[in-house]
Symmetry: C2
Subunit: 316 residues, 2 copies
Amino acid sequence: MALKVVALAGGVGGAKLVDGLATCLPPEDLTIIVNTADDFTHLGLKISPDLDTVLYTLAGLADPERGWGRVDESWNFLETLGELGGPTWFRLGDRDLALHHKRTQRIERGESLSAVMHDLRERLGIEVTILPMSDDSVQTIVGTEQGDLAFQEYFVARRCEPIVHGFTFRGAEQAHPAPGVLQSLEAADLVIFCPSNPWVSLDPILAIPAIRPAIEPKPVYMVSPIIAGKTVRGPAAKMYSEFGIDPSALAVAQHFKDLLEGFVIDEQDAHLAKDIEALGMRVSSDVTLMQTRKDRFRLAQSLLQFACSIPLKEST
Amino acid sequence: MALKVVALAGGVGGAKLVDGLATCLPPEDLTIIVNTADDFTHLGLKISPDLDTVLYTLAGLADPERGWGRVDESWNFLETLGELGGPTWFRLGDRDLALHHKRTQRIERGESLSAVMHDLRERLGIEVTILPMSDDSVQTIVGTEQGDLAFQEYFVARRCEPIVHGFTFRGAEQAHPAPGVLQSLEAADLVIFCPSNPWVSLDPILAIPAIRPAIEPKPVYMVSPIIAGKTVRGPAAKMYSEFGIDPSALAVAQHFKDLLEGFVIDEQDAHLAKDIEALGMRVSSDVTLMQTRKDRFRLAQSLLQFACSIPLKEST
């Protein structure tokens, strides 16, 4: 029988692993639940950075250099907007803009984010199911020494510079999972936490009250987003440091220890395996840096094999 | 004393003559009143084709080949929008889009079209005053054998193909001139009708009740938009034919005979001079086709000289 997999993702690392999983699994057996707490409205456009990173990556349209946005992009809209006195801090490419524009118009006409994303992924030829975590608005607010900041203000405008002391997921308590989220989790044989930021990519998904209980009974496997104390991209390691926690794969495993059955660390972190196992989970060490598409496929395959292998009883 | 000039314009020919006038006159002595009855909302964007043609032309940003839109334009937004199932019949360039976006956002925040255009022209370094005819919505409806069509539907989507039997300027009766329009006309020593379409560029301006009476006491001079029975661009000649009128400079002079003191025809139409003079106006024949920027300047200069020369009494 087919293995039904649900992956939780946000950001570039998440999108890369999801691309690997999509290569390993038949599309009907993979559902991706994507963080939308980074979503915001800018220039009147409804922007969903994490959804779009997954969308562009699975469509083969993601820019490989920048790590965000589209290939073959041009910047004439933004350049001209700047000349006319408009804001340019959030980089909007001309092609990317078309996606935001289409999404905005349809949502303003009363369609749900998930309905719009369903149509957009079909138009981009993606067969895998991609679901926003919720059609309701959830907003990550970053508590910093400079006050509370909306996520994109912290992440893009201030380049993650302010020292962080906490997060609020505004609206999460009242948010309902998007259609299909709970059904896919119920049907799942395996839940994967992608190598995404624990604080601002995965925690917001888990903050929706109905989602965490649907995950708890399932085997959950995660790939560490931290390798040798650093993230490939993004501020996760910096955030751990600012909370007074040594940034490491161990810290990530501790973060999710109540949920994880298995954890994949980078082979550079093999020395942490015993401490992580002591948290009550299986550990595998692997090459986790995904530099090529082949790396994504190989890591996804290896992760699935690890998750599906029978846990060995400890020898007594 | 300085000659205060107000020019009424719409379309490419209008923008070219206005550019010539702006080269001849100090900016404080020239005001351009632009047709806004072609304005429409498309993809949620407030688009003002005639205002933008004047704006781009005076800023030196108009595309010289296409006759509309901007130089150095790219089309990645529209191409991608098409791939996502959006409409592509109205050609929106990536740079052009920035202007529409800025205008739309500001109008939606409650600013008037004229206030927004004032700011945009300053940002583009244009010193001449450019006024929309009105901040109120006026819409040209083209009555055709295929029914009533919104102007852009007739002009762009159906390429002026349906046979026309009339025009309605919806909202004109209730529209107020934009701030500055009546003041500039009152102060004007000379009003110029640019070589623009009489039916759909100039008539909508004159259809605003307060504007025509402000023009009537002034010397009005016009450059014919029809040369040797044809227009350089646009459907004016085709419209005359469809009304059963032979398209010619004479037909245009007849159209505005109650307003015109002087009329400039192309030298190819010199044989019409007597018939036009018989309508009660002065006539000058000239090279009116504006192929280069120098042509615009020369025609504007020649027009001003003609208008300022003392009308010769007919010898008895």
